[in-house]
């Protein structure tokens, strides 16, 4: 789950990381009221989960109420690379002496936490990595040992962050590491991490991605989940607890397992079709889950055929078949189903489908993934 900047800053603040005083607004009046409260100059920042906000005109400095009103009015509702701005973050403008970069992620190859630190912040870190890789210090942290203040200080020195800022940077790195680990982040990034002329170090931006698997121990994440922007199909899928990603094609896809679902997309694409979605019903899905999945696919106006690709492991064929029979009786499907069913109890599943008396115009069965994909693509193209 990716957080908006303002949520990331609020999350950072929980772990003691210094951020600018500010608040979030959804209306121009609220934005001006926040600016009046915290004092000028303020920065009005579009809250969208896409890079290049500044270049798109989504970040503006205001030195009085009139300017704050104009900027908030322009930015709210602005479309930045397809993301409509629904909120602005208004914060006290900071004087900047220098800009750095700091982040923690999990390095899958090393199976260790990875700190990336650079004295070149405020720009796209991928560009720094491409142009001047030596400018980024990479430090692996053993998850059961953690990051000490001394190691953080050494990393700051190695990154050639000036002496006067090293203690402040090290202190924030330790706090950011705590936020990353105890806060169950996939990514915790500060870019830029700034040094003020007064000598304080401070997070000017926040990029946080949370690990959804850890939500059981973070009740405070509920408010973040409420602001996740989904289309109608994705919202329905989420209500039904399904792994769904909306795409633009015409073949609705239901598969069990992320790998098989991705593979199904690939095969549909290879035989000349286009997938309307990615939908993984997961392991151990029962009849109710399958019926729910069909309802979600059915809510997509573009779907012309539905391809169900099930290879049973935990998922049992007879449960899948029962779900399809139930869904067909409950929902009026907008498109015909092509199914390929194999694995655990597939024979039983195929028998249930055959005995349900569903007409061939509604459901056909194919023995392989490739044949099923061809049939579904042919129907979608009719």
């Amino acid at each position: 789950m990716d957080l908006f900047e303002y949520q990331g800053k609020q999350y950072f603040a929980r772990y003691g990381i210094p951020v600018s005083a500010g608040d979030v607004a959804t209306t121009v009046d609220d934005a001006v009221a926040i600016a009046e409260r915290i004092g000028y100059p303020v920065v009005v920042k579009a809250q969208v989960q896409v890079g290049g906000r500044g270049k798109a005109g989504g970040i503006k400095l205001a030195s009085d109420a009139a300017e704050a009103r104009v900027h908030a009015g322009n930015i709210l509702g602005m479309d930045i690379k397809g993301h409509v701005v629904r909120r602005v973050w208004v914060e006290r403008a900071s004087d900047i002496a220098e800009e750095y970069y700091a982040s923690f992620t999990l390095d899958r190859a090393a199976k260790r936490h990875l700190l990336m630190l650079s004295a070149q912040g405020g720009v796209d870190i991928e560009e720094v990595a491409a142009k001047d890789p030596g400018a980024i210090v990479r430090l692996h942290v053993n998850p059961i040992e953690g990051l000490s203040e001394a190691a953080a200080r050494a990393a700051a020195a190695e990154a050639r962050i000036p002496e006067r800022a090293q203690a402040g940077v090290a202190s924030i790195l330790v706090q950011l590491y705590e936020c990353f680990t105890a806060g169950d982040c996939d990514l915790a990034e500060i870019n830029p991490l700034i040094l003020k002329p007064t000598g304080e170090v401070h997070a000017l931006d926040a990029k946080v991605s949370l690990d959804a698997n850890a939500s059981f121990r973070h009740p405070e994440w509920d408010e973040f989940a409420a602001t996740v922007e989904l289309d109608d199909r994705e919202r329905l899928a989420r209500e039904k607890n399904l792994q769904y990603i909306g795409l633009d094609g015409t073949v609705g896809i239901i598969a069990n397992g992320a790998g098989l679902a991705m593979s199904t997309l690939d095969v549909v694409n290879q035989v000349g079709g286009s997938a309307a979605n990615f939908l993984d019903i997961g392991g151990g899905a029962n009849a109710e889950v399958m019926a729910g999945a069909l309802e979600v696919i059915n809510s997509d106006q573009k779907v012309r055929s539905i391809l169900i690709n099930i290879f049973g492991g935990i998922t049992r064929g007879e449960e899948v078949a029962k779900g399809i029979v139930e869904a067909v009786s409950r929902v009026s499907l907008r498109a015909p189903i092509v199914i390929r069913l194999d694995g655990t109890n597939a024979d039983e599943g195929r028998r249930i489908l055959a005995e349900a008396g569903i007409p061939e115009s509604v459901l056909t069965s194919k023995p392989t993934m490739l044949e099923a994909a061809r049939a579904a693509v042919a129907i979608a193209g009719r």
Binding site: R108, A109, D211, G283, M369
Partner: protein
């Protein structure tokens, strides 16, 4: 021969009295796996269709001498269950649990590495391992795997994706090709066993004559495997990478399967594997057909 598990492997199931543990534990036993014990704290003295249940892994190992553990407990309890098995001296642990927080996985792996280097963890969030005809630990439907033949050639399979593992077994069975061992390493961020671990074992296993590998987008495990193959693997290989059509930046179910910043793409992985001499199919069926060609070549 086979890798990781064979007819001598004796298995205890952590969570045998739970829904998943019971279902798959009994299925594994019905397949012929020596499932000798279950572990559920507070349920010592009970049995699940004749399989005795113990309070702790240590008790189960002391009573039965189990050499492997099958962890089928919920995400909150799984890290502790894995470490309990390692502490009790179990050297091979299979964890099928889906949804363990990445931070917990990282700590669990680091703890195993530091304190129990003799224990191999397979998973979490993996389908398990099957040496067809000998031993099946996990959720694979055993009947889709063809046992290896004495004269060969037989194929070893290693896969990052659960359902695609079954798909691979199925494709090979359609072609009449026996499988020495099929390992599902799982798609989570910190898998206990990597492609490289499995490739090294297959390379050393006399019963394995060719290797099929199934990867997916995200991370760099396939690129690392390609490097290892180029330097160390002499047996012929075919491969498939899922996610050619995945949109960038979207998480496709597996935490591991995310394409960002042009890294970890299916194309990049396929190129790396081809560069290492692996024959790469564009879908699972094609990878199966390529393996059939490889096997036909070995038979001549």
């Amino acid at each position: 021969m086979a890798i990781f598990v064979d007819e001598r492997t004796t298995v205890l199931v952590q969570g045998l009295t739970g829904g998943q543990g019971r279902y798959h534990g009994l299925r594994n036993r019905a397949y012929g796996t020596k499932v000798v014990a279950g572990v559920t704290p507070g349920k010592a003295g009970q049995d699940v269709e004749g399989i005795p249940v113990y309070d702790s892994v240590a008790d189960a190992v002391a009573a039965t001498g189990a050499t492997a553990s099958f962890v089928a407990v919920p995400p909150k309890a799984a890290p502790a269950a894995i470490l309990e098995a390692a502490r009790a001296g179990v050297r091979f642990v299979v964890c099928i649990t889906e949804g363990i927080p990445a931070q917990d996985e990282a700590r669990t792996f680091a703890t195993l590495q530091r304190d129990f280097p003799g224990t191999r963890l397979l998973g979490p969030n993996c389908p398990g391992v099957i040496s067809p005809g000998k031993c099946n630990i996990g959720i694979t439907a055993g009947e889709i795997a063809l046992p290896p033949s004495a004269q060969g050639p037989n194929v070893g399979i290693v896969s990052r994706s659960g359902t695609l593992t079954y798909q691979a077994l199925y494709e090979l069975k359609q072609q009449g090709i026996g499988v020495s061992t099929c390992v599902g390493i799982g798609g989570d961020p910190v898998p206990g066993t990597s492609f490289v671990d499995c490739l090294a074992e297959f390379e050393a296993d006399p019963e394995t004559h060719a290797i099929m590998m199934i990867g997916e987008i995200g991370g760099s495990a396939e690129e690392e495997a390609a490097e290892f193959i180029a330097a160390n693997v002499t047996k012929p290989m075919s491969a498939y990478i899922a996610g050619v059509t995945a949109p960038p930046g979207k998480k496709m179910g597996h935490a591991g399967a995310i394409v960002s910043g042009g890294k970890g793409t299916a194309q990049g992985k396929m190129d790396a594997l081809r560069g290492a001499g692996v024959r790469v199919g564009l879908n699972p069926t094609e990878a199966g057909s390529l393996m059939a060609e490889i096997v036909a070549g070995l038979r001549r």
